[in-house]
Symmetry: C2
Subunit: 315 residues, 2 copies
């Protein structure tokens, strides 16, 4: 680990050290695990909130306003954006750029964007590790922002204590949200841009679908909160709903159960990454290369080549 | 493998057998690999085209029209939709439903949607296997439709012979496409909804960025094609550009190089999936469970628990 990465400086909240520590982790530097193990022991203070939903739902604006809300309560806020369409990450595929400079200038806010591509399956591992770094550095609230189409929102639901799914009236009805798998991960929904036509109807249709889910008196009942984040309307309601969900989880032991389940999959991921790195030694890489021409010619198949690599595993 | 899964029926193009074969693979049924190895030997006839881009770019409409274009040439077309926002998959997060019934009724078209979530990292494996099944069943063209935010479009670029990135004037300029990582995967761009304001400017900015990339006289130069897919305008240009890319690749050996690289990562994926299944035997699952409380209490870390699991690997 670079001598400049001083864990005591990290724990004191030094911004330069935080930034370097996240980069260090992002680059999979040797020594990262030892450093992260030290960091992990100092975590446990931050509450982690996932904010997901389709592109154009206003997630970045909402994240921005929610950060300000917590700042006004004196809390330090870390933002991790893994959304390629987010202005935080510089993506903004749909062109809806939001100025973030007001929170960016705040010393009590740390914003980090992480690439959602490339590193094979390592995104959720790295996101969690970046959150650990911010947690150890004294941030009280960590906001993950990610686009809810595909796999990334599942990763975030696996790293967050409370997952908020942001929709807009144009997102379609509750049945569509259910089909897209958003019902399973939402601890609650936000109907953003609620001043637009159709908002009331969209809220009702989601509530109806939520009511159909099997539940008893011990179940958490996900609700729908309305907001117009660009005007700052409804941000307090969102924060209250997060607090209500947190209190509910802490009151009945489900907070620990959720963190335990997340830790289980986190360790599975560490082990999966490990295999990918150690399995592919020089001999096996060569064995694969020499098998490829016959496979491409269809005299062999990828399955028997994989089988041979696994049998001949060098032990 | 179920006795109803008759490979000769599959090879004859029987639709019911194709559907069952894909379900069989999707469910990871025991015997799937043996079946897929047989299927793999019969592949090699289909050309695989990936269609990706941000939600709302009109990918489904374009896929639909492109399928009709190839049908008019007498080619059989398979469509694999892994886009949770696509009307093919029933997602349509942004509400932009397109009627697909005209191609859905055509015996020469087979449409299959695949869930882009859940099965850990197995999506690209299953997508490729579904494509193999369609290839072996006599389909000449396979269209993959996927939303281009995050990981799924990379998976598709890894399965397609030609990758088409669909944008609209509102998608932002070339710099944003570059930041979103679309430049690296696009064999060419389509500026869809080209009748909208700003289309010409958007095309120019992408062309400018493309021109800045390092290249020499042997490089493929990705171009930008304009279309208004909803009116059927530009579909022939897209098909021509696919044909030009294919001819270029076949002429200089890069077709085989691309398929070889794809096969390499395909085998890596088979092996990764294998480890996930075999590593987690009962003893290791129990070892993980008993380590969790101390980790949650932060007297241990996920890294040392993972290390212990890896050392004590049962051999």
């Amino acid at each position: 680990m670079p001598s400049s990465l001083d864990i005591s400086k990290l724990l004191s909240g030094d911004r330069r050290t935080i930034a370097r520590a996240i980069t260090f982790v992002e680059n999979d530097n040797p020594g990262a695990e030892q450093f992260l193990a030290e960091v992990y022991r100092k975590t446990g203070n931050a509450y982690r909130i996932g904010i997901t939903g389709p592109p154009g739902a206003g997630k970045s604006t909402l994240t921005n306003k929610l950060a300000k809300h917590y700042r006004a309560q004196g809390l330090k806020v870390g933002i991790i954006a893994v959304d390629p369409t987010s202005p935080f990450t510089g993506g903004a595929l749909l062109g809806d750029r939001v100025r973030m400079s007001d929170v960016e200038m705040d010393e009590g806010v740390f914003i980090r964007s992480m690439a959602s591509r490339g590193s094979l399956g390592g995104l959720s591992k790295k996101t969690r590790e970046a959150a650990d770094i911010l947690d150890a550095a004294g941030f009280n609230i960590i906001l993950f922002e990610t686009v809810g189409v595909g796999q990334s929102e599942l990763d975030i639901a696996g790293a967050a204590d409370t997952t908020v799914v942001v929709l807009v009236p144009e997102s379609g009805d509750g049945i569509q949200a259910m089909k897209a798998g958003l019902m399973e991960i939402a601890d609650f929904f936000v109907m953003n841009k609620a001043d637009r036509p159709g908002a009331e109807q969209a809220v009702m249709s989601i509530k109806m679908i939520l009511g159909f889910r099997p539940h008893d008196e011990h179940s958490w009942m996900a609700d729908v909160v309305k907001s117009t984040a660009s005007e700052g309307i409804g941000i307090d309601l969102i924060a209250s709903e997060v607090a209500r969900h947190r209190a509910w989880m802490e009151g009945n032991g489900s907070f620990l159960r959720r963190r335990t389940a997340q830790m289980r999959s986190r360790i599975e991921e560490i082990i999966r990454d490990h295999f990918t790195v150690t399995f592919w030694n020089t001999a096996r890489k060569q064995q694969l290369e020499s098998a490829l021409p016959a496979i491409l010619a269809r005299t062999r198949t990828p399955y028997d080549a994989a089988g041979e690599l696994l049998v001949n595993d060098g032990r």
